[in-house]
């Protein structure tokens, strides 16, 4: 689990997760969209309650790791300004077979969106902004 203000690449997250014992690696990248409800978006500012967010992310990953068929899992969440087109969240999960790994990746993302104290403020092309 990492919370970072630096750009995230998929490779960084997947490196070290791939090994010959695990035939399935699933990744999810959450990318800042350039529009929301039809409004052009230029960037999103992410704010975290870092100590608690790290704790919650670790709990979510630990829960995923005890389910059968899941070998490893990694989560990287960005904070600070993230430009449209850049990843704000990358999740990678590995295991022997795909089904459990797809499922675990999905559950991790769902839990992150529900429980982790991170907030986003959208900045629009017209210069306005708002917490969502």
């Amino acid at each position: 689990v990492v919370i970072t203000s630096k750009p995230i690449t998929l490779d960084d997250v997947v490196d070290g997760l791939v090994d010959a014992g695990n035939g399935a690696v699933v990744t999810f990248a959450g990318v800042v969209r350039d529009s929301n409800h039809g409004r052009p978006v230029t960037r999103i500012y992410y704010e975290a309650y870092s100590e608690m967010a790290e704790r919650e992310l670790t709990r979510i990953v630990d829960e995923a790791l005890i389910s059968p068929g899941v070998a490893r899992a990694r989560v990287v969440h960005r904070i600070g300004d993230v430009q449209a087109g850049e990843a704000s969240l990358v999740v990678a999960v590995s295991g022997p077979h795909r089904l459990a790994v797809f499922d675990a990746c999905m559950r991790i993302v769902d839990e992150i969106k529900k429980c982790v104290p991170i907030w986003k403020k959208e900045f629009y092309a017209d210069g306005s902004s708002g917490w969502i």
Partner: protein
């Protein structure tokens, strides 16, 4: 009891700070912090915002008794990912 109150996101903007220290009566509970803040004029900007309470990074209900040095975070609905 002396507690550190932490504000985030919209709440931080409205309160104009990321946190403050509050002195409360002995035996105060988490919800008593909200009672104090509700008397502030700026609170009207967030009175409809549903807030979760966390003490020392763990979600609690309003009944949670507060101890000296506790960090009480007021968490607006999260929107990470």
């Amino acid at each position: 009891v002396r507690v550190h109150v932490l504000y985030f996101a919209r709440l931080k903007d409205v309160m104009g700070t990321d946190g403050e220290t509050l002195d409360l009566d002995a035996g105060a509970r988490a919800r008593d912090v909200l009672r104090v803040l509700e008397t502030r004029p700026e609170w009207s900007g967030v009175k409809d915002l549903p807030l979760l309470l966390a003490v020392n990074e763990e979600v609690v209900d309003g009944n949670r008794a507060l101890n000296d040095g506790d960090r009480l975070a007021l968490l607006p609905p999260v929107s990470g990912g």
